[in-house]
Subunit: 106 residues, 2 copies
DNA sequence: TTTACATATTGGCAATTCCCGAAATGTGTG
DNA sequence: CACACATTTCGGGAATTGCCAATATGTAAA
């Protein structure tokens, strides 16, 4: 697992993106139940769809979509598409490596 | 100790600033001996003067001075002036808090 | 005080980021 | 197929950052 510290830092240097990461720590506390419209039940692994995140962030859909993409390209989020919806969740592996990196290499 | 995650992330989202932080982990390995021109011996606590950092970073003095200021305002560096020289060193307290913050709050 | 040197501050242009609306794409439904 | 809806991509104006040269400030030595 290699940490691109610059990409990650850029991704983290925006309040909304930081909040999205924090909200996704407890999806059930911060977002309505997910996956209710899916035809088949799927394990969403705590993932939340873009529109739920957009409603909470109070920014335009395109901005939120861009932010989620930024976080994903930095390796901080994972996404999974089910039907019309894309569910984003935290990538705990990268977040763990990040804390470790800061402690041991930065 | 409060972490301003946005300021810190902005400070870390530049390769040279990241390198400066890493170089300052082992000043004696990365920079010439410091404080040799001072009239009285002082404990520099591993601090390195701007010109030594500038020589290694290979950027203009004003850019490096700005970068050091950015890192200090984010709480990542400490500075101490002795004579004509300003010696910068890592602020390990903030760096420790940062790793802790990422692990427990981000 | 004059000079030299270390550093900090200022001004400015190029590049990047922020955030949006508009348009495009993907996907299930009638 | 046509339509509605979720999301992504595109284009652009405002704000911020990157980096420099020029200038200003602080400090020690001549």
């Amino acid at each position: 697992m290699d940490i691109d510290m610059i990409e990650i830092s850029k991704a983290l240097s925006n309040e909304t993106r930081l909040n999205i990461l924090k909200w996704l720590r407890s999806p059930e506390e911060n977002f309505p139940p997910q996956g209710g419209c899916l035809s088949e039940p799927v394990d969403l692994k705590g993932g939340v769809c873009v529109s739920s995140i957009q409603a909470k962030a109070n920014l335009s859909p395109s901005t939120v979509s861009n932010y989620l993409d930024t976080l994903q390209r930095a390796g901080l989020l994972l996404s999974e598409r089910h039907g019309k919806w894309t569910y984003y969740r935290r990538n705990e592996e990268t977040l763990g490596c990040l804390a470790e990196y800061i402690k041991t290499e930065l």
